[in-house]
């Protein structure tokens, strides 16, 4: 899967779960500060990405995913 395909899918998941427009979702957007997520949203987002991309994101790694770009990078690196 190409990075841009991953990016599109990640943005779709975020838009759906956080109820924000896809145009507001940029790689540098912080989930908490820019997109208004709280700790429960982050748990849900991580689970959704694990299922969508069949990757496992351990809790200690999830803590480092703070922006949309962090999520895309993690998935691009770890997706088999």
């Amino acid at each position: 899967m190409s990075t841009s395909a991953i990016e599109t899918k990640v943005k779709g998941i975020i838009a759906d779960q956080l109820g924000v427009g896809e145009d507001e979702i940029k790689p540098e957007s912080s989930f908490i500060e820019d997109l208004g997520a709280d700790s429960l949203d982050i748990v849900e987002l991580v689970m959704a990405m694990e299922e969508e991309f069949e990757v496992e994101i351990p809790d200690e790694e999830a803590e480092n995913i703070k922006t949309v770009g962090d999520a895309i990078n993690y998935i691009t690196t770890h997706k088999k």
Binding site: Q17, G19, V20, G36, L40, V43, E44
Partner: protein, 417 residues
């Protein structure tokens, strides 16, 4: 209890008859049945396949789209009904609005009989399929019953007492009564009170069905809820919400609030008898009605209309009739009694709130909603049930009865203002 008086200044209703107080009131006066075949899931193996589903609810009209996803349907109903009630009353909270109540002195007491049961079913299914480490992080907050008052408090900045009674079909009558008490005692000056329910799910419908509590008149849904009628065969599940704004009278007057009615009495007690059957002769219900009258310092003769619990089960309606006769004596022949559950179905934990609003409207608009489907009189139920058609009547006080599984009873008493 004290000289402080409590008035109703706002209402919010959602039921099978529609979303909004006015829509519900007009449908009730027209004698409309909200009961139809269950559409939300396939109930084919369940003996009862009918219910009073809400059909026109659009949560995004009341709640931010993103918040909707995080809420069970019962909480969405609660939030929407609270929004309607707050808007209607213009309840001011905080120092930034004229006559704003101190946030710490505004309570939210809103309950549900069952809570987020559809979320529970969905997440249990997900757990079995994918593993219990894959549950939604929102599951617990969707399921628990006190999330409704919690969410309402966050939206309206109500920092006073915040909790959810859970007493089956008496839930929201208890909520209103306890909010009344809190204002009377001087703990609070205003409250959002009522209840919500959304239990028309496989577990909810199936669970009540196997108790043989529900009507099985699947071939004629509109005629299935027929309280007091000889051919009644059980209750019909309803859903929705009923919410009221309560305010201390002097504060309400000072801010120029429109006052619908005064809440003057509240009784709460227990049958201490059986898990589902009412005590013989409606003994607990009668005691509870007397408690409400006593708390208001009123005589039975002052009550002109009773919005009955009237579930359409053989047991309840006969016992409630006996209880009314025991309390009201000769006046039982004169007082009008009706069950709006004949139209909405039994909204369980939302029933007391819905019917509290109906009671306040009957007083302020001088018209009594009917009991529909009255075709075969039952010798055991021989009072004036306002059969089949609404009736113009100027009454001075209205009693609203709510009785729940577990033998719990709550009675509210409203007075013309």
């Amino acid at each position: 209890m004290s000289h402080r008086r409590v008035v109703i200044t706002g209402t919010g209703l959602i039921s099978a008859l529609g979303t909004g107080t006015e829509k519900n009131w007009q449908a009730l006066l027209a004698g409309t049945s909200g009961i139809s075949l269950v559409t939300r899931f396939d109930p084919k193996k369940i003996d009862t396949r009918i219910a009073g589903e809400v059909k026109d609810f659009e949560p995004e009209k009341f709640i931010d789209r993103r918040e909707v996803r995080r809420m069970d349907l019962y909480a969405q109903y609660a939030m929407a009904a609270a929004a309607m009630a707050v808007e209607e009353s213009g309840l001011p909270v905080g120092p930034d609005v004229p006559h704003g109540y101190t946030p710490e002195r505004v309570g939210v007491i809103v309950g549900s009989g069952i809570g987020g049961i559809s979320s529970l079913e969905e997440q249990h299914r997900k757990g079995l399929e994918k593993g219990f480490d894959r549950l939604s992080p929102f599951f617990i907050i969707q399921m628990i019953v006190n999330m409704a008052p919690g969410l309402i408090s966050m939206r309206y900045n109500c920092k006073g007492p915040n909790w959810a009674p859970v007493s089956a079909c008496a839930t929201s009558a208890h909520a209103i009564g306890e909010a009344w008490k809190s204002i009377k005692l001087g703990e609070t000056d205003a409250a959002i009170a009522g209840g919500a329910e959304a239990a028309i799910t496989p577990l909810g419908l199936g669970g009540f069905s196997v108790m043989k509590a529900l009507s099985t008149r699947n071939d004629d849904p509109a005629a299935a809820s027929r309280p007091f009628d000889k051919d009644r065969d059980g209750f019909v599940m309803g859903e929705g919400a009923g919410m009221l704004i309560l305010e201390e009278l002097e504060a309400a007057k000072k801010r120029g609030a429109r006052i619908l009615a005064e809440l003057v009495g509240y009784g709460a007690n227990s049958d201490a008898y059986h898990v589902t059957q009412p005590a013989p002769e409606g003994e607990g219900a009668a005691r509870c009605m007397r408690l409400a009258l006593q708390s208001a310092g009123m005589n039975p003769e002052q009550v002109g209309y009773i919005n009955a619990h009237g579930t359409s089960t053989p047991f309840n309606d006969a016992n409630e009739t006996k209880a009314i006769k025991a309390v009201f004596g000769d006046h039982a022949r004169k007082v009008a009694v009706s069950s709006t559950k004949s139209m909405t179905g039994h909204m369980l934990g939302a029933a007391g709130g819905y019917e509290g609003v109906v009671s306040a409207l009957a007083l302020s608009r001088n018209i009594l909603p009917p009991t529909i489907n009255q075709t075969s009189p039952d010798p055991e139920c021989d009072l004036d049930y306002v059969p089949n058609a609404a009736r113009e009547a100027k009454v001075d006080a209205v009693m609203s009865n709510s009785f729940g599984f577990g033998g719990t009873n709550a009675v509210l008493l409203f007075k013309r203002f």
